[in-house]
């Protein structure tokens, strides 16, 4: 490259990102999406009890939050429930997706619709239904940790596995059935076909579904609130009860930690997905 640098050409009809109004709209979107979160994080460092005006930088509310046993316990409960329900949802959702993709059976459309029903049913209805259900079933209370979380975990699985199923099922639409036949032709049993051909293809869907399930479970309030017993508190429920007294920077600090964890998990999952799957069917 030598000589006079050519003048920049005016933006072409499809180069939206080079047009000023488009850039402004983009900026507005980012502000709209992230300003509240940035504010929340900023005010977690605010040296003020009432947390309305900025009074200087401090990290003492992080120390306070970490020392708050109730908050830590709620936090651990939330993480435990999220991990358990994600694992169970991913397995169940993957199986449901496989079933819907692989087999034909009577009333299949009905079944397919029913599986995704929890996605559209209002959470409050689901929560009340769960409440009544657990009350009727009469699951024992006062069990040691983590068995005392089983009600919430079951509730979380029931609304998050359909997300995994739907995403994984959609992924299977791009599966080339000749891959399965090729594996069978080469001597693979049903198990080997599932392990070596079908699950690797489904994996991006399963990872995406698991990420959804994890975040859904971590921040679920309505259903958790209705299905948690008197002595099992999760993080969102705890934050809610703290906010009822006052919004201290402690709440902000705890929330910031949660955001950091969620973002970290998401980044990790994306990284694993990009590293492990060569996403090119056929």
């Amino acid at each position: 490259m030598s000589g006079v640098r050519p003048r920049r050409a005016p933006p072409g009809p499809l180069e939206y990102t080079r047009q000023t109004w488009m850039r402004l709209a983009l900026l507005a979107t980012f502000v709209f999406l992230y300003a509240p979160i940035v504010t929340l994080i900023a005010f977690s460092f605010n040296d003020s009890k009432r947390n309305i005006v900025w009074r200087g930088f401090t990290t003492k509310y992080y120390e306070k939050a970490l020392a708050n046993e109730g908050l830590i316990e709620a936090f651990m409960n939330s993480i435990t429930i999220a991990v358990l329900s994600t694992v169970i949802s991913t397995v169940l959702g993957g199986l449901a997706a496989y079933l819907l993709w692989r087999f034909r059976f009577p009333l299949k459309p009905l079944y397919e619709g029913t599986v995704s029903l929890p996605i559209v049913i209002p959470e409050i209805c689901l929560g009340v239904a769960m409440l009544v259900f657990f009350y009727r079933v009469g699951l024992p209370t006062g069990l040691p940790w983590p068995l005392n979380l089983s009600q919430i975990t079951i509730a979380h699985v029931s609304f998050s596995f359909p997300f995994v199923a739907v995403v994984a099922r959609a992924r299977m639409a791009s599966f080339n059935p000749e891959l399965e036949e090729a594996a069978r032709d080469l001597g693979a049993s049903e198990w080997a076909i599932a392990r070596d051909v079908i699950i690797p293809h489904m994996r991006p869907g399963l990872v995406a579904g698991a990420m959804l399930a994890f975040t859904l479970s971590l921040d679920d309030f309505v259903i958790t609130f209705l299905t948690s017993g008197p002595d099992t508190v999760t993080f969102p429920v705890k934050v809610y009860s703290m906010v009822r007294f006052s919004v201290t920077p402690e709440v902000n600090a705890a929330s910031t930690v949660l955001i950091v964890i969620t973002v970290a998990v998401t980044v990790l999952a994306l990284w694993i997905q990009n590293r492990r799957t060569v996403d090119n069917p056929g």
């Binding site: 080339n176 000749e178 891959l179 036949e181 090729a182 594996a183 069978r184 032709d185 080469l186 001597g187 693979a188 049993s189 080997a192 070596d196 051909v197 690797p200 293809h201 799957t277 060569v278 996403d279 090119n280 069917p281 056929g282």
Partner: protein, 374 residues
Amino acid sequence: MNQSERKPIIRIDRVSKYFGPIAAVDDVSLEIMSGEFFALLGPSGCGKTTLLRMLAGLEIPSAGSIMIDGEDMSRVPANRRPVNMVFQSYAVFPHMSVLDNVGYGLKVTGTPAAEARSRAAEALELVKLDGLGSRMPDQLSGGQRQRVALARALVKRPKVLLLDEPLSALDAKLREAMRLELVNLQETVGITFVIVTHDQEEALAMADRIAVMDRGAVCQLAPPPELYEFPASRFVADFIGSVNLFEGTVTEARDGAITVRVPTLPRPLVVVQDKKISPGTGVWVAVRPEKIDIAKDDGTRSAGPEEGNSVPGVVEEITYLGDLSIYHVRVADGPEGLVKIAEPNFDRITARPFLWEDRVLLSWATDAGVVLDA
């Protein structure tokens, strides 16, 4: 190659396959010899792929039996059959490296890893992909992916290799090169190849024997030259290559010569053919375009029947193909009255020997055509 001394490796006995009320394969019986390059040829929907899939065990016959190397395959699932398949889409596993793809069939059936790896490397060498073992399939071209699929099937040392339209996804130049290579490969490994194709040229070029299929049934099973020169029916004559058909009635059949009266032609056609047929039967005379001679009709060359067949006509259209020129000559009214003649362009000439509207005389030897009664 002399096929007659070989024993059959596949015996298909009265096999039918129904999808609902539709017979995809209808009462097919045939034998495929050991070491043979066998082609199933037919238009799409003729049942050739279904038949191949039944050999692989990917479809279960509705009726009949399939024997492979003397063993009844009815109860043998696809993953235990001594056959392997190259799929139309190649079906190379996208998340495995080339070497893992080729070694998969060995690994999954319990071959020790070291042996599997060395055999996979050998197979890659066989298909000229050595050195590409660590590539991922999305880093390969279509032709290379096909070689992976070939190596993956051959590494299992099957008794029969099944190929489903293996060349249809390649471009024309590569396709022609691959034809030769497949034939050489088959001679090297000595495995029976069964190929499914809708491309008659492909089948003629590669196969030792061809079974032409139509609507679920085998119309004719013969080596390529016989299929081309002596088609058994109008369908085969028309499907393999290009053909001129004259519809008429047998007036005389004796001493190995059949005389057919064609209403639209001034004189009856004579065909030397050893075929039992009684006068009065409605038949078609089929003549290949390249068997017909074309000459200017100046009125002097009015050939008699003992010299062969001759039909006067007018040149209606000329198609120049470089190596050949195709003349469409009008000998009678209607779509049947247009005769195709293929003339090789021996000399480098710029002036056409015949022009539109030229009066010409078409002639062909009595042993150039065949009489078809179906």
